[in-house]
């Protein structure tokens, strides 16, 4: 297989874009990525698009073709493929793009993610998101997405004694980072009190433990490493791509508060890159809920099971800590347009590795990781990227 590099990135502002459509959002992200790669669209050989539920959110399927068309590619008839794995759709689109280039099948490939969630009423968007879990045996009996993650949190706190305050530190830290990210949906710092006094959603999770409903799009361009210098002085190499699945329903897991798919994908990625946790300078993890970040940093091996609460409260995951986590602000502060999130994570790591992350820059960043989860852990995609 050939080595693959990221040569361009682009991301819309995340937020509620009431005056812009699904296709407008994508076109903006794609154009930004092309501009970043100083490339014309005629060079693109193929596209992969991550999108969870346009069928429910905007009654539109066939997203791959739609997006290639509105990006002006229709007359070139390039292959354009949508991949879906709920909130991990973006991560899987990136992975398919990497495989397509690594195989030699394609040269220049766009991996994009897009979700337009605010075109339906909040009840309808919550219901659509429940399609990421087991509709027949979770959704139909009253499980909501916050409810499922709340059961993970309850199990975790019961087993390991993490405090409610320790959990709140995740959100406080991510808002601190998001306040330094120009694309963030909620770029404002918060305090522990903001979290602890916010509305209870599903005990023990409160409103500020939950990522928001967001519109947004992100795109990256990948190419064979050997050609990357044609387009950029700072290609970022894909050191590993890994993906794992698990039971669709939370109740069928070996352990409620371990995402075995995160463990498996993480181990596969480290093995493929021939690296270990201490080689990683920063990681974007899937904090759809605060508890998800706690599980993620343990499941990926950045701290021991049961210790992530203290690790976070001690500042080890903050900028300047042992392993900065979610420098972008994460899903919590940056926003979570589900199909776009996995691609946005790659954009953030690329910015860090290029030294372009501004006030949230990690010093001397050489290797970064992304971790994108579908549902409550039925799909996980992990990627490792590095400076060349």
């Amino acid at each position: 297989m050939r080595d693959v590099a990221v040569i361009g990135i682009g991301c819309t502002k995340f937020g509620e874009h009431w005056n812009r459509s699904f296709r407008d959002l994508f076109v903006e992200a794609g154009s930004l990525a092309l501009e970043d790669a100083k490339m014309s669209g005629e060079k693109i050989d193929a596209m992969y698009v991550g999108n969870m539920s346009a069928g429910r959110f905007v009654e539109q399927e066939h997203i791959g073709a739609l997006i290639a068309d509105y990006a002006g590619m229709a007359s070139r008839h390039i292959p354009s493929t949508r991949v879906e794995a709920a909130c991990a759709s973006g991560g899987l689109a990136f992975r398919q793009a990497v495989i397509a280039v690594a195989s030699g099948m394609e040269d220049i490939v766009v991996a994009a993610g897009v979700e337009k969630m605010t075109d339906v009423a909040p009840g309808a968007s919550t219901d659509a998101l429940t399609g990421a879990a087991d509709r027949e045996w979770e959704g139909f009996v009253g499980a909501t997405f916050p409810g499922l993650y709340a059961m993970i949190a309850q199990d975790y706190m019961h087993k390991y004694g993490m405090t409610r305050e320790q959990l709140a530190h995740v959100a406080v830290k991510n808002h601190y980072n998001g306040a330094r990210n120009p694309i963030a949906q909620f770029p404002s710092e918060i305090t522990l009190d903001t979290v602890l006094k916010s509305t209870m959603v599903a005990d023990p999770l409160r409103l500020f433990d939950c990522s928001p409903i967001t519109d947004g799009a992100a795109a990256v361009i990948v190419a064979p490493l050997e050609r990357a210098k044609e387009f950029t002085d700072t290609p970022i190499k894909v050191l590993a791509t890994a993906q794992a699945s698990d039971s669709i329903a939370l109740h069928d897991r070996r352990d409620i508060s371990t995402l075995d798919a995160s463990v498996a994908a993480g181990q596969r990625a480290f093995k493929m890159a021939k690296l270990t946790q201490k080689d990683i300078n920063m990681v974007e993890v899937h904090d759809c809920f605060s508890i998800a970040e706690i599980c993620a940093i343990e499941d990926l091996g950045f701290c021991k099971k049961g210790t992530a609460g203290k690790f976070t409260a001690d500042g080890e995951t903050a900028l300047g800590g042992k392993i900065p986590v979610n420098t972008s602000g994460g899903l919590k502060s940056c926003g979570h347009p589900v199909g776009a999130t996995g691609i946005k994570q790659v954009c953030e790591i690329v910015q860090q590795l290029r030294g372009e992350a501004g006030k949230r820059q990690v010093d001397n960043a050489k290797v970064g990781m992304t971790h994108n989860v579908g549902g409550t852990g039925a799909t996980v995609a992990v990627h490792i990227l590095g400076r060349v």
């Binding site: 919550t126 916050p146 309850q154 019961h158």
Partner: protein, 130 residues
């Protein structure tokens, strides 16, 4: 939830009828037609569960979806049935009394009302064992 889909699962939802692999003895609820351990050697038969179990984890859902037939906050739990498998269900009890390790038994209750059609769906919930 369409009528066709709900009716198909009535035996399972009403009476906790799952499946069992007679090759290895493993029980499945929600029912499976394929044993992950024995694979094609597994022989799957129906199995009626006794309805007794233990709360593995739970939450109290404050902002409920419109259609679920629960007055106010409700307790959602993962319950480990005594026969082995785990399932997600609601527990009818004072939210303050819910706790991990609590023993529960199944009861037949209204689950939800379909917004558009007004059809009422019934199924299994759990109550604490005294």
């Amino acid at each position: 939830m369409t009528v066709a889909r709900f009716w198909r699962k009535i035996p399972q939802r009403y009476n906790l009828i799952g499946t069992k692999c007679t090759t290895c003895g493993r029980h499945f609820f929600p029912p499976r037609t394929f044993c992950p351990d024995c694979r094609r050697n597994g022989k799957i038969v129906d199995h009626k569960f006794a309805g007794l179990g233990t709360v593995v984890t739970y939450t109290v859902i404050m902002t409920e979806p419109d259609q679920f037939a629960s007055p106010g906050p409700y307790v959602l739990a993962i319950i480990k049935l005594d026969e082995g498998p785990q399932m997600t269900s609601q527990v009818i009890c004072d939210p303050k009394e819910a706790k991990i390790g609590m023993r529960v038994k199944s009861v037949f209750r209204k689950i939800a009302t379909d917004g558009e059609s007004g059809i009422i769906h019934y199924g299994t919930k759990f109550v604490p064992v005294e």
